[in-house]
């Protein structure tokens, strides 16, 4: 399977949750305007919260991302994939191997397990986003509040020094 | 407007003031009594007035 090519489908309970994440919660406001926005964030969230999920076909509804939207945002999807491959030590202990997974084997036959890993993080991330943003919200004001708390929680844990990243990039060049 | 003493013109007709006053005096007396006794009705009063005027005008 070649990731990030052609139409992408969400199935079962995850499709359900994606639909809810992209629904209007008040006025004309949506947390996520398109499915691909969910797909951009979910794998990161899934990895950071260390949540994986298996695919299921429960319920009857599916939902998808169209090919043109996939190709428009392919660079982000790919970037996310590379990040996960580089960092997931449970999946691969050796750093060099991880580097290969991220840069060399991406898109080849050798990537089957990796892609499976990536997808399970996607689904896990969908679950987390749903649990944090949709489930506890009953009134329109709740959505905003829960969203803020979700963000604020992350900021307090991982409030990153942007400068550090710039420095690291510079060093590498030399 | 008075042309002779005791004569007045009303609607282009000459009226003898003395005669008119006679009738008037009779009328008031009659009316005062009528207020009390209610003897003569409206119609009858009108008729009485006309008779009186005619009589007064015709006599010398």
């Amino acid at each position: 399977m070649m990731l990030f090519q052609g139409q992408y489908w969400f199935y079962g309970t995850h499709a359900d949750k994606v639909k809810k994440l992209t629904a209007e919660f008040v006025g004309k406001h949506k947390l996520f305007s398109y499915n691909h926005e969910v797909y951009q964030l979910a794998p990161i969230v899934g990895y950071l919260y260390n949540r994986k999920a298996a695919q299921n076909r429960e319920g009857g509804s599916d939902t998808s991302i169209f090919p043109d939207q996939i190709s428009n945002n392919k660079d982000v999807f790919q970037f996310n994939y590379q990040l996960i491959m580089l960092l997931d030590v449970n999946h691969e202990a050796s750093f060099d191997a991880r580097v290969d997974k991220a840069f060399r084997f991406y898109g080849t036959d050798k990537a089957a397990m990796d892609e499976e890993l990536y997808e399970s993080y996607v689904r896990g991330g969908v679950d987390v986003l749903y649990e944090k943003l949709i489930e506890p919200s009953t009134s329109p004001d709740d959505y905003i509040k829960n969203l803020y708390e979700f963000m604020e929680d992350f900021e307090s844990r991982h409030g990153q020094n942007t400068k550090e990243i710039y420095d690291l990039c510079r060093i590498a060049r030399s | 407007m008075e042309t002779n003493i005791g004569e007045i013109t009303v609607n282009g007709v000459t009226v003898d003031k003395k005669k008119a006053d006679n009738v008037l005096r009779w009328l008031i007396r009659q009316e005062a009594e009528n207020v009390r006794t209610k003897a003569r009705s409206d119609v009858q009063m009108i008729s009485d007035i006309q008779k009186n005027i005619q009589e007064e005008v015709e006599r010398r």
Binding site: F79, M151, I165 | N11, I49
Partner: protein, 655 residues
């Protein structure tokens, strides 16, 4: 007219047969009837009017004594009777009213009226009792005491409020009517009326055969007169409407003043609602801003991961080892050529060759160096995107919260204002109503002007036609005669009208003077009354005056002085028997006004009254009894008391 006695049978609280005898002594002409509220003072005043006219003001028109009713059996009947004995113009009259009632067995209507009121007037003539003929009853009553006047001589203290109101509007047209008939101008008005009709009747006597033109004119004139009459009627209606509308405008104005505050509140409410709506829009915008910041979330969330992966890449030295623009093809070419770019020899097995071969791993397409470089660029780019993401997000969230809290405040304010407004009339509506009425009034004024103008035009036209007709009629003998007679009648009419107007003016002025005299002898504050042609009452404060008089007390004083004035003038004019105006004095029956006056007033009233009226019958509360004694003592000819046994509301006895 002198009242001698009133005999009542089962009339309201007066159970059984009870007689009240009045004092007719010329010196001691005051009869005092004492009784507390509820014992029947008002009832007694009403007994007069019922006896004479069959009219009462009671809500309950059943006059039968309730105590008597209680003792009756179903089917049984009882009569209510009132017999008033009086003298009028030297003749003694006995006036009787009777009404029969039947007790029923129905619980919702225990008593019903049985038959019509029986009304009889008897008089003594030459030792005999004569009955006034049925057909002449109304006329005789009119002569003895016209109904319109009765209300003024049986002075119902409880109707002061109503009359007071009329006075505060400056209206005295009831007085006008009453005065005219009281002062004996009836003969005048009657004569004027008859003459007018006579003149009209002459028109019918014109012999139309002699000249069809005359008939034509007569017809035209008749039409004119009809139309004029209609217009006059309409003008009268308009006048009445104007009064009502003006009054209503006044009321609305007062209400608007009172509720001016609500206008301010309504303004505030509008502003608050506008702010609330603006806040809602603003919140929407803030949320949109918030959510658009969220678009950068993927980059933001990945920051830690980017840092970690970059760190690891740097640590293990997996950095760019690639050579720009050198790819596998280049190296293959160099190896096959056997010579490097710098010129060094490249043979299999040499260091140079090994180094180059190693490079294969780092140059595209095999190398990942570029990919890593790309990755780093991507990291830089993503970081740049997400740099301010959280700050923006947080700031927008703060805005949303601020918006929310202001919103909550505004909602509360709106609720508060709303609550306040609830208790108030909507000034906007009141003003709209007033505007409507004002427009209405303007319309009426315009219609009035229009009517008057039309009437003027019609009258002129009519006169012109009449003149034309008169010219024609003079030519014909019969018609000539009619014209002459008509001229006489016209002259008489004009003369009387003038004289009448003159007489009325004299009397009105005299009345105004008399009233002011009495007024000042009763109340020495700086008031003066003005009586207009239409008998409108205007109260003027004189220079040295102004007082703390309430308008109620003021109006009572005016009513009082006015009636006293009328009575006084009526008595004085009795001396002019040969005059054209014939009239006679009346008694004054007064229902408990003392409680409305202060002490000084009462003194004055008690002093002046008996001198003005030939006979004074006064109802007072027990508590006022001492005052009455103190001031009227030597004029009191009779004292009576009403008492209700055991504070009964249904039985009163006179002693």
């Amino acid at each position: 007219m002198l009242l001698k006695s009133l005999k009542l049978k089962d009339f309201r609280q007066f159970k059984g047969e009870q007689t009240i005898v009045f004092s007719d002594d010329p010196e001691k002409n005051v009869t005092v009837i004492m009784g507390d509220n509820g014992t029947g003072k008002t009832t007694l005043a009403q007994a007069f009017t019922w006896c004479l006219y069959g009219e009462t003001d009671f809500d309950d028109k059943i006059l039968l004594c309730k105590a008597t009713l209680r003792d009756m059996l179903p089917g049984q009947t009882e009569k209510v009777r009132a017999e008033l004995t009086l003298t009028h113009k030297g003749t003694e009259y006995i006036i009787v009213s009777e009404q029969q009632y039947r007790k029923t067995d129905k619980s919702d209507k225990p008593v019903e009226v049985a038959g019509q009121r029986g009304f009889t007037i008897m008089y003594k003539q030459g030792g005999q009792v004569e009955y006034v003929k049925q057909s002449q009853l109304d006329g005789r009553m009119k002569e003895i005491l016209p109904f319109e006047l009765a209300r003024y001589f049986f002075f119902d203290g409880e109707r002061i409020t109503v009359m007071s109101k009329r006075l505060s509007q400056g209206k005295g047209d009831e007085f006008a009517r009453a005065v005219r008939s009281l002062l004996g101008l009836d003969a005048f008005t009657s004569a004027i009326d008859h003459l007018k009709k006579t003149i009209k009747d002459y028109d019918k006597k014109y012999d139309a055969r002699s000249d069809s033109k005359i008939e034509d004119y007569t017809y035209q004139i008749s039409n004119f007169e009809q139309t004029i009459e209609l217009i006059e009627m309409r003008l009268s209606e308009i006048a009445d409407e104007e009064v009502l509308v003006t009054e209503r405008i006044g009321d609305l104005q007062a209400a608007i003043e009172k509720n001016k505050k609500s206008e301010e509140l309504a303004e505030r409410e509008k502003k608050l609602i506008s702010r609330r709506d603006a806040l809602i829009v603003q919140k929407g915008r803030n949320i949109t801003g918030l959510l658009s910041a969220l678009k950068r979330a993927p980059a933001y969330f990945a920051k830690k991961m980017m840092r970690d992966s970059l760190q690891q890449l740097t640590k293990t030295g997996k950095t760019d080892k690639s050579v720009p623009f050198v790819n596998a093809e280049t190296i293959k070419y160099l190896i096959e050529r056997g010579r490097c770019i710098c010129g060094a020899e490249v043979c299999t097995g040499t260091d140079a060759c090994n180094t180059l071969t190693e490079l294969f791993s780092y140059v595209p397409p095999k190398s990942i160096g570029d990919s890593i470089a790309d990755f780093r660029e991507k990291c830089k780019e993503r970081v740049r995107i997400s740099e301010s993401m959280f700050d923006d997000f947080e700031a927008k969230y703060a805005d949303v919260c601020a918006c929310d809290s202001e919103y909550a405040e505004v909602l509360q304010d709106i609720a508060d204002v709303g609550k306040q407004l609830l208790g108030m009339d909507d000034v906007g509506k009141l003003q709209a109503d007033r505007k409507r009425y004002e427009t209405n009034l303007r319309g009426l004024h315009m219609e009035k002007s229009d009517c008057e103008r039309r009437m003027g035009g019609l009258e002129t036209e009519c006169k012109r036609v009449e003149t034309e007709r008169d010219k024609l009629t003079l030519k014909d003998d019969n018609n000539r005669r009619v014209t002459i007679y008509k001229a006489y009648a016209q002259y008489m009419y004009n003369t009387l009208l003038e004289q009448y107007a003159e007489e009325e003016r004299k009397i009105r002025e005299e009345l105004e003077e008399t009233v002011n005299d009495i007024f000042h002898s009763l109340f020495d504050e700086g008031f003066m009354l003005e009586l207009s042609e239409r008998y409108d009452v205007n109260v003027i404060l004189s220079d040295f005056g102004g007082s703390s008089e309430t308008s109620t007390a003021q109006n009572i004083s005016i009513i009082f002085a006015f009636i006293a004035g009328v009575i006084k003038m009526a008595r004085e004019s009795q001396k002019e028997e040969n005059g054209l105006l014939v009239t006679e004095p009346y008694p004054f029956v007064m229902d408990a006004p003392l409680s409305s006056f202060d002490k000084k007033r009462i003194e004055n009233v008690c002093d002046v009254l008996p001198r003005i009226a030939e006979q004074v019958i006064i109802f007072i509360k027990d508590t006022d009894g001492e005052i009455a004694e103190e001031h009227l003592g030597n004029r009191i000819g009779r004292r009576l008391t009403f008492h209700a046994p055991n504070n009964s509301k249904t039985e009163t006895y006179v002693s």
